[in-house]
Symmetry: C2
Subunit: 200 residues, 2 copies
Amino acid sequence: MRLERREGRRSIGARRNPAAEAAILAAAREVLAECGYRGFSVDEVARRAGAGKPTIYRWWPTRSDLLLAVHSAERAARIEATDTGSLAGDLSTIGRGMLAAWRSSPAGEAVRGLVAEAQAGEAALVVLWERFMPPWTEPVRAVLGRAAMRGEVEPADIEVVTELFAGFLWRRLLTGQTDDDRAAIERMARLLSSGRGRKP
Amino acid sequence: MRLERREGRRSIGARRNPAAEAAILAAAREVLAECGYRGFSVDEVARRAGAGKPTIYRWWPTRSDLLLAVHSAERAARIEATDTGSLAGDLSTIGRGMLAAWRSSPAGEAVRGLVAEAQAGEAALVVLWERFMPPWTEPVRAVLGRAAMRGEVEPADIEVVTELFAGFLWRRLLTGQTDDDRAAIERMARLLSSGRGRKP
DNA sequence: ACCTATGGAAACGTCCCGTTTCGTTGTCGC
DNA sequence: GCGACAACGAAACGGGACGTTTCCATAGGT
């Protein structure tokens, strides 16, 4: 989907222009996909969107906001519910699915950017911690909730298993290991699901 | 127009000046401690060290090299061997020790910087992956090696447990959670050590 | 005595940030 | 109708940091 750049968008009056928002998000997605987080600059997004920087900053006050928006849009297209019947199966499926999504869409670069951004800015850390993490870990919590009801995991362990799972995937993403290492992921899933629950 | 040199290190001939190296590393450590990774700029380090930027770039071609040098120097002062007799005890001790070190020294900021840097640069990713990770995970591998001999963990699981452990700590550091959350850490350690090994 | 690598200072050109100014556009309240 | 208002794009700003280059002084190696 290419953008019209000759005739620039104009104001449509004293209200937000949906076309501008769409163009900016599309451009951000495009830059992220082409140049990665490395080449992700607000100037470049503005250039490609045929938009002014003030327009971007008006709606996304920080780079983190923009990255999060790209990630959210990407995520909306993939509503995934997983239920294989066993905790190990669920964790493995979700893990491989997330790595696959990171490989094949700008979502991975968006997450890398969000984390990198958070190391240098206090505001960015808040975005990562309060707006990115909760929805991101939601499917994991859902799976663990069901596993707890089946007795596969102690309810008190849910939090720590979620952390271990998230940490495993993050570390892989942040070190550039997003390949589908099926053996390792299944081993990880089995290990996390063989903790302290009542054995069937 | 010729200006008189102020007090400062001079060249000591056609060889590296150890005083310059020490001053630069000390300044880097100081900036990192005071301003965090956020305020860590080569210009500022040069200013405080009373050194020229070319001198810095001559010995540390990238910011990652400089960050890694600070981290290594910090690490050299804390050679820690852990052996509590049980895998859970060892992992818990190492985990809490690392978080404590990250809290109380520039090492944590150095790691945050190394990871952030690696998200934007290919060279920085190599530094992180090949020069930082191996020595950093060494104590964990040592502990897991002993645990494998005691039958507490399957040798084939060593790799994945190391990854899970590292991911757990990284995620905490990168999201600003470096407090001594003893309960969670011990729970994590217990979970990782209750995997598939032969029970004693 | 020359060669050469080092050290510090300063300045360079580039990039990007986040903000400000400006003129234009069109809607909505009056 | 009509004017206040807000959003739009373009351009420019000051600031900071990057990584590099030029310059000159220094002093060990040969």
